[in-house]
């Protein structure tokens, strides 16, 4: 069966090579329809072969077939009722399997495109499919020709006994216990759907350059796929953060680790890409932006894969170095940007677009600055992530950039960005005069003042006291806050951020309210019905605005849970009834237990009661697990959530002198999570396909097109 899997990879590689060849030849010959169709069929063959290979691998996991080396190394010994899920998630628990999953998802996207465009067979779609297949070809080759990436390897015979059990050094092989967490089951596949999907806008941007069609046809084809992919990328990032928060036990959810950054890079430029698409569709502008951003976003997707797989930077879970991956991905990054750059240079005039910058007060300017900030953010984070692998003559070469530097830059830039997002919907196209702006801003301002007032009350009663306690601490956490700048700057920035969040939320909410009021008046329907119509009919716009509100809520959450964390370590006597005070909470030690599980793992837990103002709000039982086979320990952190803050406790250890534990208070962290959910819902609304939205747009050569061979 291992050989069969390998054979399927070979078929997929061959099919994608043949598809690229026949699509290209079909494009160049005048009677190429037959060849072109053959290229489409080959795309289905590649997707079919990869789908079967996935079935082969998954069945090997469910059948515990240890002759597959990958299964032997990544099977989960779990026996809980989630066991079947961990069998499935074994597929993406390791380097080879996740590469296979990435490639398979990409082949599905390619097949979907082929299916949607098969009837029109227009030059633009043919070339878009061709570029997609080039990427698919390189990925298939990357698996077949690099042993570390090859998922279909045989387990050496001496590691298996006659009944197929693992023996010797392989006896302790298996899935990392840290990956056996529900968030980890869904994090990789969502991320890979996002990664793979962002290949499609790139492929069609290159195709638009090849056929020299600067109309919005290619945007119409890839628009929803792009929003959909960006949504999944965002979901993947969110699930990764939840996993880091609940499983890794350091008390935070974002640490600017290279692998985290890797997923954030294309997400940032993706924001700019989506907004360029909007202008492209609605105003016939930002065309060069859209082309370049498609390429840069794709390059950053590959860079992300490259960072995790080439072993060039030290990270939480980077893989071992592998020269094939190194050169393959490096070449893909460089050629993606070069292809778009050279293509754009050749088609410069045709992709000029109708950009109207009359004034900095116009909507275009707000979109423009969104693009500038997101592009700079994406490229800057990318650069700062890989500095330690760069030679010393480059800025920061051979130096690792610590999270504090990322924070120092991200905070003011993020707040500036939130202001732009907050103000943009109040602006008119081209220019906005003061009177109009005031008329639009009046009522939202009242709302913003109310929200800001509430937030400032929380700031004064909870956040500022934490700052004052932390900044005088000699601990690492305290020092980091003290080093982040003088008190007036640190707190001023936080207050500005809360203000930006309030403005953003109030302004955007007001759009829904005024929109629904106008519609209700014009159509004589109720306010509720009008609001519902706006949400369900104008989905791209409503979804976008919901996402904006989500961003505003996230910003408030980030300010609380990243800038005003209370963090201290306590050692208490091991006598039940001992109490200690943490910020506004009183902890009471109730007792501790030691358990040995059936598989030999030892679990020790503490029982704590937590109360505030004399009223009990809950119990917590942080602990430690010691794994029998490896004698490694894992800290089992526990979280107690209140609406406005989380209490996060990790047990550090027990000695004769007492129990040591670390306690963190994470204010407003639920704003981050709930804002994120709203962001996803909004994006999902925008990505939802239009009913009966038939993609036959490309049948006629549209404005600005000089396509040589538009068919039908």
């Amino acid at each position: 069966m291992v050989t069969f899997g390998l054979l399927l990879l070979g078929v997929a590689l061959l099919a994608s090579v043949v598809s690229v060849g026949s699509l290209l030849m079909g494009h160049m010959s005048s009677e190429g329809d037959g060849l072109t169709k053959f290229g489409y069929y080959c795309t289905y063959v590649a997707a079919g072969a990869l789908s079967i290979s996935i079935v082969v691998m998954v069945s090997a996991f469910f059948g515990t077939d240890f002759t597959f080396r990958y299964v032997a190394e990544n099977h989960s010994p779990d026996v809980s009722n989630l066991a079947w899920l961990y069998k499935l998630s074994g597929l993406w628990a390791g380097r080879e399997g996740s590469f296979l999953l990435w490639t398979w998802v990409l082949s599905l996207f390619a097949a979907w495109i082929a299916h949607r465009r098969f009837r029109s067979l227009d030059a633009l779609s043919n070339m878009g499919l061709m570029v997609t297949n080039v990427v698919l070809m390189l990925f298939s080759a990357g698996m077949l020709f690099s042993n570390p990436n090859n998922p279909f390897k045989v387990t050496p015979a001496e590691l298996l006994d006659s009944s197929g059990k693992l023996i010797g050094a392989a006896a302790s092989w298996g899935m990392n216990p840290l990956l056996q967490s529900p968030a980890m089951i869904f994090h990789p596949p969502t991320l890979f759907i996002g990664y793979a999907g962002l290949t499609i806008p790139f492929a069609f941007a290159i195709a638009a350059l090849i056929v020299n069609d600067s109309s919005k046809t290619w945007i119409d084809i890839v628009d929803r796929i792009t929003v959909f992919s960006w949504l999944f990328l965002g979901m993947g990032i969110g699930l990764g953060s939840i996993w880091a928060y609940t499983t890794l036990g350091w008390g935070g959810y974002w640490g600017w680790d290279p692998v985290e950054n890797a997923s954030l890079l294309p997400w940032l430029t993706g924001v700019a890409l989506l907004h360029s698409f909007t202008i492209y569709r609605k105003r016939d502008g930002f065309k060069r932006w859209a082309i370049m951003l498609s390429a840069v976003t794709f390059a950053l997707v590959i860079l992300g894969t490259f960072i995790t797989r080439s072993g060039i930077v030290q990270s939480v879970h980077a893989f071992e170095a592998d020269p094939v991956s190194l050169y393959l991905f490096l070449a893909m990054i460089v050629s993606a940007v070069l292809a778009a750059g050279i293509g754009l240079w050749a088609r410069w005039a045709n992709f000029g677009g109708n950009d109207e910058f009359d004034s900095l007060t116009g909507k275009e300017a707000a979109y423009y600055f969104t693009n500038v900030i997101m592009l700079v953010a994406g490229l800057l984070v990318a650069y700062l992530t890989i500095t330690s692998a760069l030679p010393t003559w480059l800025p920061f070469g051979k130096h690792a950039i610590p999270p504090t530097t990322f924070d120092a830059v991200a905070r003011p830039v993020g707040i500036l960005f939130a202001f732009i997002v907050g103000v943009c919907p109040l602006l008119s196209w081209r220019r906005t005069d003061g009177e109009t702006l005031w008329a639009r801003a009046k009522w939202p301002l009242v709302g913003a003042v109310v929200i800001f007032g509430l937030l400032m009350a929380e700031y004064a009663t909870a956040l500022l006291p934490i700052y004052n306690k932390m900044v005088v601490q000699t601990s690492t956490a305290g020092q980091k806050i003290a080093e982040a700048g003088p008190a007036w700057y640190y707190n001023g920035l936080a207050i500005l951020g809360l203000l930006a969040g309030s403005l953003l939320i109030a302004n955007t909410l007001s759009l829904f309210i005024t929109g629904a009021m106008k519609r209700a008046e014009a159509r004589e329907e109720s306010f509720g019905a009008a609001l519902w119509s706006i949400l369900t009919k104008a989905r791209s716009q409503s979804g976008g605005y919901l996402a904006h509100i989500g961003i505003g809520i996230i910003l408030i959450g980030l300010i609380g849970s990243a800038m005003f964390v209370f963090d201290n370590t306590y050692t208490i006597a091991q006598t039940p009834g001992t109490t200690f005070q943490v910020d506004q909470y009183t902890f009471t030690f109730v007792g501790s237990n030691e358990n040995t599980l059936a598989n030999g793992n030892q679990v020790s837990t503490l029982n704590l009661d937590v109360s505030r103002n004399g009223r009990k709000i809950g119990s917590m039982s942080p602990g430690q697990t010691t794994f029998a086979t490896t004698q490694q320990t894992r800290t089992d952190a526990k979280v107690l959530s209140e609406p406005l803050r989380d209490i996060f406790v990790t047990m550090q250890g027990v000695t004769d002198s007492g129990i040591t534990m670390n306690v963190k208070i994470n204010p407003l962290i639920w704003f981050s999570w709930s804002g994120f959910i709203l962001l996803l819902l909004g994006t999902g609304l925008a990505a939802w396909p239009k009913p009966g939205h038939a993609l036959v747009v490309a049948s006629a050569p549209a404005k600005g097109s000089s396509a040589k061979r538009a068919r039908r």
């Binding site: 890794l248 680790d257 879970h317 900095l360 950039i401 040591t660």
Partner: protein, 228 residues
């Protein structure tokens, strides 16, 4: 396009770029840490007093999670022979969930003149499937832990002491030693199964089993993967 608007647009863009650049330059220059492998960092005296970021395997038994700040020793990740230099670390932050013997810890902090890193940041590498085969505790560390390890299932690695291999039924099957030449800590191994093909004097073996009254009762014996 309106010319004045264009000039302003470019002006504001440049202002943003300059401001971001200045922030990165200022904070990154102050806080950036030299990243190198453990051997080069421990030798390079010019790094003393500077921020460094270095990763290494936590030496078994060198740490105590309860002590605050926590102290431990790391050794080069590829230094399986355990002959290379080590670095002492003093760490003041929250200890990551997976910290423990044999885990790869990546620490960031100031290198002191006594060769100790005063770490302010630490992450532990996910022991992804790759490293799982190398997660065995060296026998010297295992025995060093003493009675607390008695009777617990563990994985350990050592070398076959030259001349010690015996046949089935003769009691101890071979003696595992800390070093390939048979020197250092040794322990007799009992095992009733078939010894792996190609096992010879000085071979590195990975064993699963338990410590029992000064012997290692093995349930599995395999050659270390790198030797195949």
């Amino acid at each position: 396009m309106n010319k004045r608007a264009r000039v302003r647009l470019i002006g504001v863009t440049l202002a943003i770029l300059v401001a971001v650049g200045a922030m990165v330059y200022y904070t990154g220059g102050k806080q950036g840490a030299y990243e190198g492998d453990l051997a080069s960092v421990s030798k390079d005296s010019s790094l003393v007093g500077k921020q460094v970021k270095v990763g290494g395997t936590v030496v078994a038994g060198s740490w105590d999670k309860q002590s605050n700040p926590m102290r431990f020793t790391i050794r080069g990740e590829k230094d399986t022979a355990q002959t290379g230099p080590t670095l002492k670390v003093v760490y003041t932050g929250t200890v990551p969930a997976t910290f423990g013997d044999g885990v790869v810890a990546i620490v960031t902090g100031k290198l002191g003149s006594d060769g100790t890193v005063a770490a302010t940041d630490m992450i532990t590498k996910c022991p992804s499937k790759y490293e799982s085969a190398t997660g065995a505790t060296p026998i010297a560390d295992l025995i060093g832990k003493g009675a607390s390890m008695e009777g617990k299932p563990v994985r350990t690695t050592g070398y076959v002491k030259p001349g010690s291999i015996a046949s089935v039924g003769s009691g101890d099957r071979f003696i595992a030693a800390q070093n390939p030449d048979g020197s250092g800590t040794t322990i007799p191994v009992t095992f009733s199964g078939v010894l792996p093909n190609g096992m010879k004097d000085g071979s590195q073996v990975v064993m699963g089993g338990t410590l029992s009254q000064g012997k290692f009762v093995a349930t599995s014996v395999a050659l270390e993967a790198a030797q195949k």
